[in-house]
Amino acid sequence: MAAEMIVNMTKTFPGRPPIRADFRFPVEAATVLILFGPSGSGKTTILRSLAGLEWPEQGSIRYLSRTWLDTAANMRIAPQDRHIGYMAQDYALFPTYTVAGNIAYGLGDLPAGDRNKRVDELLELFQLRGLETAKPRELSGGQQQRVALARAVAPRPLLLLLDEPLSALDAPTRLQLRGELRSLLKQLALPSVIVTHDWAEALTLGDIMAVVSGGAVLQVGTPQDVFSRPADAEVARVVGVETVVRGMLADLREGLATVQVGDVSLTAVAAEAIGPEVFVCIRAEDITLEPVGSGETSARNHLRGVVRSITSLGALAKVTVDCGFPLAALVTRSALGELNLGIGAPVKAACKAGSVHLIPRR
């Protein structure tokens, strides 16, 4: 059987619309699937169903050669027998156990020597040395997150399930741990499913991304594909970032970065040091379209291009401008007329440096 995860399930909570998930994706040693969607979209329910903590009333879940759920065959594998690592949003560390006790909790079947060795390895890998005997309430948010992750991976699970792994942290810690988490996941060579509503997290951590909204999986693809080519208006609304292109950092000084996207040079605000390879992300509503030959404005980026497509979205229209790379802009229909925009028309696209978001790509 192909190394795949195949999910087809329906779960209904009383008084709410059903949550349906129907997707499959290939699993390799370190594939990270992102379940992306706004809160209440059903993404956490899908993750909990993968963990065996929710029982869909109908459907099946297969992972590699194992069947975890098949309601037609009345088959339900308990969470204990799925060999998964699961991390809840608030980490759910055991308050009566120490850091080492938490990590060793799932290793009860190992002989004491092997157990201690494994705990020791994880303390090292997750930089928790010196905190072995601390209780969870004595730890900072970032430390708690690392303990929870160490505990989840300690029994060497087949699949790691993380529910909003960074959302309980303050913003600076979140930024720092986002990068760390990515390299940890690759180092552990452990397939993972991560729930998030943060597009920067999706781009940093994900290999494949499933967009969940209104209790349904709308699109599955690489994060870059999903962001730049949403399957429909609903996906576009949910992801909120229409332009995602690869770029190379050319210069970084005084918090301003110059990024090269093909032949085009863009200026962006960069708060932190980032690697040379980046994703350049621009929201369509941050782009202003101007007639060619208009004067300079305070916007740092002015890109000449040609209109490639126009999609009507009610009062607004999405205009894709080819300016060396496809750039999506959201303008009103009246602006469309005043600027005389049609397919093939020349136009100038402007956006502020602060609207160009750089996400490190590893």
Partner: protein, 224 residues
Amino acid sequence: MNWTAIWVTFKLASLTSAALLAIGLPIAYWLTFSRWRWKFLVESIVALPLVLPPTVLGFYILVAIGPHSPVGRFYAEVVGQPLPFSFQGLLFASILYSLPFAVQPFATAFEQVDRKLIEASWTLGLSKLKTFFKLIVPLSTAGLVTGTVLSFAHTLGEFGVVLMVGGNIEGVTRTVSIDIYDEVQALNYAAAGQTALLLLVVSYGVLLAVYAMNRKVWAAWPQK
């Protein structure tokens, strides 16, 4: 003071709370975590001794374990001695009578354990039984102590059920509360007063300990 009655009473109370710790834990676990829609039927039965007059409870227990019931006959045949008016019969009745005093604090403590912790334990491969002993019990110590102590204190002071099921046999089923009643009937107010004071002091002390523990004024108690 009637030391034999005091000994019988403390033996009865200790065995009752020990038995309730063993029986009450699974009942409380089931009441807390079962999703059975008719669960409230069982909850009501467990709470029944709180409102039922002890004489009514005692009457039904007496009938249930008496020689005319299959249970009573079976017990008498196996053990060679009937249950009513024996210490074992009294113990059985005490366990039923104090059941809510143990089960309700247990169940309250279990309810307060965060479901997410239990789920984390399951995903780490621990069975429900192992999760219970490794996670739920350590997080519920205060409730477990409260339930055990309350059932102990409640058994110390029981009167109606003892009279109905145990009778008044010196050294076997004659407890402190019966002894006090007898002394008063015989107008021995001094002896009754001594025993009553002892019961008052012990009961108050036990409740003090429970309430102090639940307010965490005891630094000796491990903080959670």
